[in-house]
Symmetry: C2
Subunit: 480 residues, 2 copies
């Protein structure tokens, strides 16, 4: 990559917003200097993290019977305008292509903000018999939103470069419901591989996906105490099936409407991973997605330089053979500068090998996540590194989980909530009536994330608006 | 996938255009029924071929020191309009986004037809010192061309869904020249992995990339005798560097203009692969890119059904463990219908296992490329299958190479050329003067592909227009 100047130090993570922006640059994730608001450039290092991350989601989806496919970006206006709720939800955010060359197009083309209206006209043709259901397809694509709010790399974009959207078709409402459950589980598993613990909840009805029966969502706790929505799973009922005439033939020969779901994940998955694990020294990457998993630093003195370098190369070759992404840094930088550089890039393990280590047939191994140093016998270096990766992953997840749990504050009054959500996610009883929910949101100046999918508490308590007793609690948070 | 009706038989490959269209459908590569001209939908099976194919190009580029990155799709009009030649080349084909929601944009945004004008404003910032050169980045993206010509899946598209474009920066013209040579070699290697032999030539000056010093190109011979351009490598000189102010500091501290190259490959790579190897029975896929590499057909009779199925599963498990993509077809179809189905999908090897085979501890193995049958001892099935893959790949390449070579016709007159190019690629002497080249093209009603990069013949002969003696020959072909 080009030589990026990194003279400035990273701001403290306590100033999260500044820290985040600088980290994306100094860690070589994204460059924000592209000359259009809300569009960003992936540095190769950032893109390598993205590749490794999306390999995980592909693996999880492929193994659970999904198939990857690809639909066009451009959606003709007439298809896009078919589903009334859906239009209302997106019409202010859609980019329109109106010209090809110098000619005006007969039909304006929408850049997909999401692909229901691109995919479902094809599902109308493809879906035939109950025997071929469920149909479970996904694609990883760029989608577009004309955001008028403040944009932010990986989080709020005009081009979402890495939208993974799945679209499934089922014979019954219940099968679609089970699919939404599966999706939530798959996403939870995905985030566990990124060492990111999640909150899972059913969004309130007024906050569901436009055109859905309901929306289950996954949120992460960001370091500033706000929630980041990092996955949504929608039960579409047969709403889109009605609009797009998606029917299948039952075993008795009847033509009936199909039921559908869709669920999505974006590069927000990376925003959460980077934000949650990073520290004042820079990125801290879970080993599975780190572009460089091990950096080997030869400690060179004139005399034994050759032997030390040879030993480093031998270790490198053995790690590579074991499928581990390792690099030797034999540049002219001082060791301290090398440490600084690779710590910024989040490399999980640093191996230092000097003449004394060589004599003892060991390497010094330093963990990025907690800074601990240990010695590893050279003959067992591969096993040692692998064990190190596991320990790092577990520690990152445990730390993040403890952090999340300590920031969920059980409240009984809206005053408590307002205070709690300055740095936390709150829970508050809710009677499940819409008017009370909206009144709470107004009063709290914050949104209800939703009703937890996982039991949090079931002592009856009182809805802070109407006073009715309820066993339901909801998550409340400031959000991105 | 949904149940696609395949009652019609595939047309003979002699009717190439019909055969191609039907094959894309019956082989489940692309669906052409998307409601916008020139935009197509990838079936999951087709997309799996695409995944395997692009894994090869990624591997080749990564190993030769390229890094993957990602730039925005949308290019602001002012950047897009900076390079005069480039605009002229693309202005009739560019899609323009003019509206976001209901608001007109201040600056119209082009959908990239190619990414020079998206990438080079960033290169202006990134390129600093000679020490960080060369810079070799690539991305795999969707690009857009408002095609007014007849569109065709994988070949002439309004959304090129799989454009692999590399963009490099160098200190000198000569280093850029060497990079173009490397690119041509890498692409040749890529196509060899697809068992596709190529013609390599330097495009005539009037047919080079808009804004380039010269263009080297790679073409394949399609079954109808036409040439398909399947890769281009451009030496950009410092033309774009001047426009976008891309400079580096030399070791003596001077600021000088950089030199650049770019080179691209698209899903035409799949069009060529499918077209060249396929036959009247359907797809014939090189093993490396086949989504299903081996299909196992249990030949079931009531008595030994259980043992046969168990043996099939055992074979499947051993193949899977060896990294081979295998499937057992234990559906209710008759064996003949199964053969038909998997032959259509181009599966390289079919294993049949019945009670008699089991007794002899063998499987019958049938090659898709030439139909030959043999017996493979079950204990050596993995090695046997791997050897089969190699033999198939070699045979496909050798056959395609012989086909290509037999269709290059050395001509001395334009009359000969006109006849030859009805079913072949012709060569003809050319004095290298532009006016003679254009006159030849006019007379032949066909384009000069270019001057071969690989020696074809060096006996002096006469330019058919001016009669001047020349050692240069050019390829002439009808093209897509």
């Amino acid at each position: 990559m080009a030589d990026i100047e990194k003279e400035a130090a990273l701001p403290s993570k306590k100033n999260f917003s500044d820290w985040y922006n600088e980290l994306l640059w100094m860690g070589e994730i994204m460059d924000v200097r592209y000359p259009v608001k809300g569009l960003y450039v992936w540095y190769p290092f950032g893109f390598a993290i993205r590749r490794n991350t999306y390999a995980i989601i592909r693996e999880i989806l492929d193994e659970s019977g999904h198939q990857e496919t690809l639909f066009p970006l451009l959606i003709p206006e007439n298809e896009f305008m078919k589903e009334a709720e859906h239009i209302k939800g997106f019409e202010d955010e859609v980019y329109w292509v109106t010209h090809g060359g110098k000619a005006q197009l007969d039909v304006p083309l929408a850049l997909r903000p999401t692909s229901e209206t691109a995919i479902y006209p094809m599902y109308k043709i493809w879906v035939r018999s109950h025997a071929a259901l469920p149909l479970k397809l996904y694609q990883i694509v760029n989608t577009f939103r004309y955001e008028t709010k403040h944009t932010r790399p990986l989080i709020r974009l005009r081009e979402i470069t890495s939208f993974k959207e799945a679209h499934t078709v089922h014979a019954t409402w219940e099968e679609a419901e089970a699919q939404v459950k599966e999706a939530v589980e798959l996403y939870t598993e995905f985030y566990k591989r990124l060492a990111v613990p999640v909150l899972r909840s059913r969004r309130p009805d007024w906050d569901k996906f436009p055109g859905a029966d309901y929306t289950d969502a996954i949120d992460a706790l960001m370091p500033d105490g706000r929630a980041l929505q990092i996955g949504t799973c929608h039960h579409l009922g047969n709403n889109f099936a009605k609009t797009f005439d998606i029917k299948y033939e039952t075993s008795s020969g009847e033509q009936v409407l199909a039921y559908q779901t869709c669920y999505g994940i974006s590069e927000r998955s990376l925003a959460a991973t980077i934000s949650i694990h990073g520290d004042d020294k820079g990125l801290v990457l879970p080993p599975e997605i780190a572009p460089v998993q091990v950096v080997i630093i030869p400690i060179l003195f004139k005399k034994e330089a050759e032997e030390v370098l040879a030993a480093c190369k031998d270790v490198w070759a053995r790690l590579k053979k074991a499928g581990i992404r390792a690099e030797i840094d034999s540049s002219d930088l001082r060791p301290g500068a090398k440490y600084y550089k690779w710590e910024m890039k989040g490399v999980p393990l640093r191996l230092e090998i000097g003449p004394r280590d060589l004599k003892n047939n060991v390497a010094v191994v330093v963990r990025r996540d907690n800074g601990t140093k240990a010695q590893l016998p050279l003959p067992e270096i591969v096993e040692g590194v692998k064990a190190g990766f596991e320990a790092i992953h577990e520690n990152l997840y445990a730390k993040a989980k403890a952090e999340l749990e300590s920031h969920i504050i059980s409240c009984t009054s809206l005053t408590e909530v307002k205070k709690a959500i300055q740095k936390n996610i709150a829970t508050i009883p809710w009677c499940e009536k819409k008017e009370c929910g909206l009144a709470m949101e107004e009063e709290m100046d914050a949104g209800i994330l939703g009703i937890p999918l996982d039991q949090v508490e079931d002592k009856p308590a009182k809805c802070p608006i109407c006073g009715e007793e309820t066993k339901t609690r909801v998550y409340v948070a400031r959000t991105y």
